[in-house]
């Protein structure tokens, strides 16, 4: 089985051919947004970092922005800089250019003011549009496809139907030579025994356990502060209302997204895997931070399960929404692509549902728009920060 995608200079495949505008620092955000608005269909990444950062936290921001700006779903990128920021527009430009991406940059302090920069930036963007639009789709192998497995607004039906369904989908993709990744370190706490056994080596199992331990230590520090006892819930009010009572209950439902495939490695936030197969990425569980990490890590499509229902999408990657809750599907039909509740009523098997979702993934990879894309949803961009205590713990 194959799909139709855009072949990029670095050998990766885009499932979209987006024109992207990205500010290198929050100070350039409005100018960048105004430029993006001048060419319809342009996507915009509202970066609110890029300055005032140091060390590994800064490096993680740089990696994420560079990986998003050179993502295979992007046909051409315009970087908008301020000029005095720590993440210099020149460094950003060089790194993206080195990946083979069509890229231009414009710097506010060099051009002048908002009006002048928007005008000149729009001219650059126009030229980039012409360059990226000549790209034609080609038939490519499924081994070039990477999906990210995300969940948000979990309820009890997520663990019964939606998550195990996409677990089957992920297993099918991997058996066809593809790659998938799951994430959200705080939400695999308590599932160590199951995941450890699936790691392909004891070194990877150890990496996974250490990653979980670090996150658990972080949670323990944050929830012990006597001043913030009213902020110590480890899962959301919607999870509680949906019947999920504890962090571990959530985790045991969460990991079903990863199917039964062996775990090939533990990725750092936004890290691009060097092999195919199933990977775990170390991210927080907030939907935006987790999704951003996986897209930056090369995922071209996100499968997003939600019991409570969410309308969100990502600027540069199609997000397929899947629920296990029939009521949620009926309430949010314009937002949710797949209803897996027939598993609960035993009208369909997990295998059937997983295959149906896999067929949809192939269609979306070849250009069919997801509901989040049709409605222009792009809320899932958000770069994760490394906390001071986390950095201290490591030293």
């Amino acid at each position: 089985m194959k799909f139709y995608g855009y072949k990029r200079n670095d050998g990766r495949i885009g499932v979209r051919n987006h024109l992207l505008v990205v500010p290198s620092v929050f100070c350039a955000k409005k100018v960048a947004q105004k430029i993006a608005e001048n060419i319809p269909g342009t996507i915009f990444i509202p970066n609110n970092l890029g300055c005032g950062q140091i060390g590994e936290d800064f490096e993680q921001t740089v990696t994420t922005l560079v990986n998003l700006a050179s993502h295979p779903n992007v046909g051409a990128t315009l970087i908008v800089g301020l000029g005095c920021e720590r993440f210099s527009p020149q460094e950003f430009y060089n790194k993206v250019k080195n990946r083979g991406t069509i890229v231009e940059k414009i710097v506010i302090q060099e051009v002048g003011d908002t009006i002048k920069t928007v005008r000149k930036g729009t001219e650059s963007l126009y030229s980039l549009y012409r360059q990226k639009s000549i790209k034609k789709k080609e038939k490519v192998s499924l081994s070039k496809l990477i999906i990210g497995l995300e969940c948000g607004g979990t309820d009890a039906a997520s663990g019964l139907a939606a998550n195990p369904s996409i677990g089957v989908t992920s297993d099918i993709l991997i058996s066809n030579g593809g790659t998938s990744m799951f994430s959200e370190t705080n939400e695999i706490i308590g599932s160590e025994k199951i995941l450890q056994e699936r790691c392909v080596s004891s070194k990877i199992a150890e990496d996974l356990i250490n990653t979980i331990k670090k996150m658990e230590q972080e949670l323990a520090i944050e929830t012990a502060d006597p001043l913030y006892q009213h902020r110590k819930a480890l899962i959301g009010p919607g999870n509680f209302a949906g019947g999920v009572s504890t962090l571990v209950e959530k985790a045991l439902g969460n990991i079903l997204k990863s199917g039964n495939s062996p775990i090939m490695g533990v990725l750092k936030y936004a890290q691009i895997p060097k092999k195919n197969g199933l990977f775990f990425m170390d991210t927080p569980s907030q939907d935006a931070e987790s999704t951003t990490g996986m897209v930056a890590g090369g995922a071209q499509i996100i499968l997003f399960t939600s019991g409570r229902g969410t309308p969100t999408g990502f600027p540069s990657a199609p997000v397929i929404k899947i629920t296990g809750n029939l009521q949620t599907y009926q309430k949010m039909k314009m937002n949710i692509d797949v209803d897996t509740s027939p598993i609960i009523t035993k009208e369909k098997t997990l295998k059937q549902m997983g295959e149906e979702i896999f067929d949809l993934v192939i269609k979306v990879a070849s250009g069919v728009k997801t509901k989040a894309e049709v409605l222009g949803h792009d809320e899932l961009f958000g770069i994760s920060r490394l906390l001071a205590s986390y950095r201290w713990e490591k030293n």
Binding site: N186, G190, E216, A220, A224, L234, F240, T246, V248, I344
Partner: protein
Amino acid sequence: MIKAIKVNKKDNVAILLEDISKNSFCSFNNIKKYKANQNIPFGHKIALFDISIGENIVKYGYPIGYATKYIKKGDWVHIHNIECARGRFKNNEDLK
């Protein structure tokens, strides 16, 4: 009869597939009937056995937390009677 599902044979709770009202019966696999001691919403858990304080609540075949109150067979099992120790220090001395 209200439908419920027991995910793993080791589990001591079942998940309700419909809202259930107090004193109504539910069943999984049409084998055994369980009377709900309270109203329990869709997706929430019902105890299949009496569970003592400190005993594990098992779902998906693994412990998801422990009972903080004595739980009777048929009780609604949720944050009012179970807790989970993961992601928390057992006491503040662990902070040092």
